[in-house]
Amino acid sequence: MRDTRKTSAVPLKILAGKDLRKIGLAVLVVLVLLDLVVTHYRHFGVDGTFGFAAWFGALACFCLILLALAVGSLLRAPEGTYDD
């Protein structure tokens, strides 16, 4: 196994870069704006409205994280819980 101590973590640098954050934000904005030109089929009314999948995705993930934190606060235990 080779030692990677001296190699640069290129993806890490890119991901940490402010430029990438700006690019990411621009991509998100463009993705929402694309709803102006793409027609969605509505099965339930709310789907297909402007930016639906965007806010739904963020909200779903936000709620799941909160649920995970709630479950974690109740049910997290030390790693050796079952060791006898």
């Binding site: 990677t4 890490l12 991901l15 998100l28 993705l31 709803d35 789907d47 909200l59 994280i65 934190l69």
Partner: protein, 562 residues
């Protein structure tokens, strides 16, 4: 019939398992690769229709081939090949032989047309997979034992249900059933145990991560997917499956979001993905069943890929905890690259196999106007970023190393296996028609419309944004999340220990009481019959003669008076 059976894909894998016992070196490696490939070829040689036999008066259909069986058969044989290619350097003959027997069991189930044949293969799978778990080392013995207990319980439920179904209907043939008798509910329960449904879903996260770096690849492929396959055969459109599947989907995401161990995280991700398929079976329309079949095929490959990636990290670094990993993209570039493809696939990003398959199930829910299930499926779809979709690659390959780890990509055979699986993820995603022609129903679904693509990209991109903004809350923490298995691993053990203490005390009191009474009886007997007792001591001869004379005299007197 015999010839057809001997040339079945399952028989080829059984022969491969046997061959591994008698070969070494290059021949062993050749056998490892050749027999799964032979099984893949034989899948296409299985004659369409069914082959019947008779056993103890029961009509058996050991081989029944149709589009659904051929799709699952081909994917299972392919996955067995990828698994053996990945495990080419694994020295444990027991694990690899068991893996081939396990794959044979899965193919046997796929081509089984009757419940008795299915059950036989089902149990072969249970035994072989238990051995694979146990090959993970000494620490795996406990999980393997619990795995065996859960699967034998599932087997008992299934067997009882099959016996009841045959007794009531008189038919052994696997057909579409409604759960309207106790026997059918038992069959459904037995199948759901293997699917990882609540409340016994913890066996997946308990046993799979305990297996070796190669063993989990096989485990991740067969058991849950064969359960989904049989559910498709036997219980399509059963509504309760929708809710069971959605519960699995949310559970898997929540537990994976909290998990620190990459292989346990993947085990939760498997439950979540299987949940989507179980929900699809519950929806039960032709589009939903097509989606389940396609998603099963896709999931077999991308799950195997992600598990291979995790296995490579384990083998090369000896670590599986994300709190101890990070920044591996530099030192393990191919592993990181293929891992990203697996992550994109499980997140159902366009151009990957996950997108062209998972979206069919969600679309089926929408077309049936099932608002609740549709919302839940969309949530589960977005939630993929919280496990293998983003959190795992982020923390393992790009996160800050703690401390920096010296590692390298795994040996060539493992790299080729991961690369092949990654290519398959893309091929199925770019040319979905190759997958769609193998589906059981005529396909009327077009995945690549502007609307489908944009909705999915928006969903994932904004879910990723939410994850990015809240990433500090989901930093890997040491520890585990308690699950239903707490009931039998901790509460059950405590109850058993309490019962043991209680019965031990009662037993002690009972034994001491009996001992006391026996001692008193002994003392009493000793008093009267002991060496110094009235009846036990040696009497003088004169006394003996006196009493004998007295008794004889008394006898004569009584006789004379009579």
């Amino acid at each position: 019939m015999t010839t057809s059976f001997l040339l079945s894909p399952a028989a080829a894998l059984l022969a491969g398992a046997l061959a591994l016992l008698f070969t070494r070196g290059i021949a062993r490696k050749a056998a490892l690769l050749a027999f799964p490939l032979l099984a893949l070829v034989l899948v296409w040689q299985v004659p369409s229709g069914s082959i019947s036999a008779n056993y103890l008066g029961y009509a058996l259909i050991p081989i029944r081939a149709d589009a659904l069986a051929l799709l699952f058969g081909a994917v299972f044989a392919l996955a067995a090949f990828l698994g053996t290619l990945f495990a080419l350097d694994r020295s444990s003959t027991l694990e690899l032989s068991s893996a081939l027997v396990y794959a044979a069991g899965a193919l046997g189930v796929v081509f089984a047309g009757d419940w008795i044949t299915l059950f036989a293969w089902w149990e072969i799978m249970a035994i072989a997979s238990t051995l694979i778990v146990a090959c993970g080392g000494e620490k795996a013995y406990g999980p393997a034992f619990r795995y065996a207990l859960v699967h034998f319980l599932g087997g008992v439920l299934l067997m009882a249900g099959i016996a009841g179904e045959i007794a009531m209907s008189g038919s052994t043939t696997i057909t579409s059933l409604k759960p309207d008798t106790w026997a059918r509910w038992l069959i459904l329960a037995g199948l759901l145990v293997n699917a990882g449904a609540p409340p016994l879903w913890a066996w997946i996260s308990d046993a799979y991560p305990a297996s070796s770096w190669s063993g989990m690849v096989f485990l991740s492929v067969f058991t849950t997917k064969t359960a989904v396959y049989v559910l498709m055969r036997a219980f399509p459109g059963v509504e309760c499956l929708v809710w069971v599947g959605l519960a699995m989907g949310v559970y898997g995401i929540v537990y994976a979001a909290l998990e620190n161990d990459i292989r346990r995280l993947l085990a939760f991700a498997i439950v979540s993905q299987v949940g989507i398929k179980v929900a699809g079976v519950g929806i039960g329309t032709p589009l939903a069943l097509n989606g389940v079949a396609a998603h099963s095929a896709a999931a077999v490959i991308y799950t195997a890929l992600l598990v291979m990636v995790a296995g490579s990290v384990l083998r090369q670094t000896g670590k599986t905890r994300m709190s101890e990993l990070g920044g591996l993209a530099d030192s393990m570039p191919l592993t990181a690259f293929t891992g990203m493809i697996g992550a994109l696939s499980i997140a159902a990003f366009p151009l990957t196999s996950g997108f062209v398959s998972k979206s069919m199930i969600i679309e089926a829910a929408a077309r049936e106007h099932l608002a609740g299930p549709w919302i839940a499926l969309m949530v589960i779809s977005a939630g993929a970023v919280l496990h293998a979709g983003l959190r795992l690659p982020w923390l393992v390959f790009f996160g800050s190393p703690r401390p920096r780890i010296a590692a390298a990509d795994p040996p060539q055979s493992m790299r080729i296996a991961m690369a092949l699986a990654a290519v398959l993820c893309f091929v199925a995603g770019i040319v979905p028609d190759g997958l769609y022609v193998m589906l059981p129903h005529a396909v009327t679904y077009v995945p690549y419309t502007a609307s489908h693509v944009l909705v999915q990209v928006q969903l994932l991109a904004f879910a990723a944004l939410a994850f990015y903004l809240m990433r500090d809350w989901l930093k890997p923490q040491a520890g585990i999340t308690l699950d239903f298995d707490w009931l039998y691993r901790r509460l059950g053990a405590r109850l058993a220990r309490g019962f043991d203490d209680l019965t031990a005390g009662a037993w002690t009191r009972l034994v001491s009481g009996i001992n006391g009474k026996a001692a008193r009886l002994h003392d009493l007997l000793l008093t009267h019959h002991g060496p110094a007792g009235t009846f036990g001591r040696a009497w003088p001869t004169g006394t003996m003669a006196f009493w004998t004379t007295f008794l004889l005299g008394a006898f004569l007197l009584i006789a004379a008076m009579g």
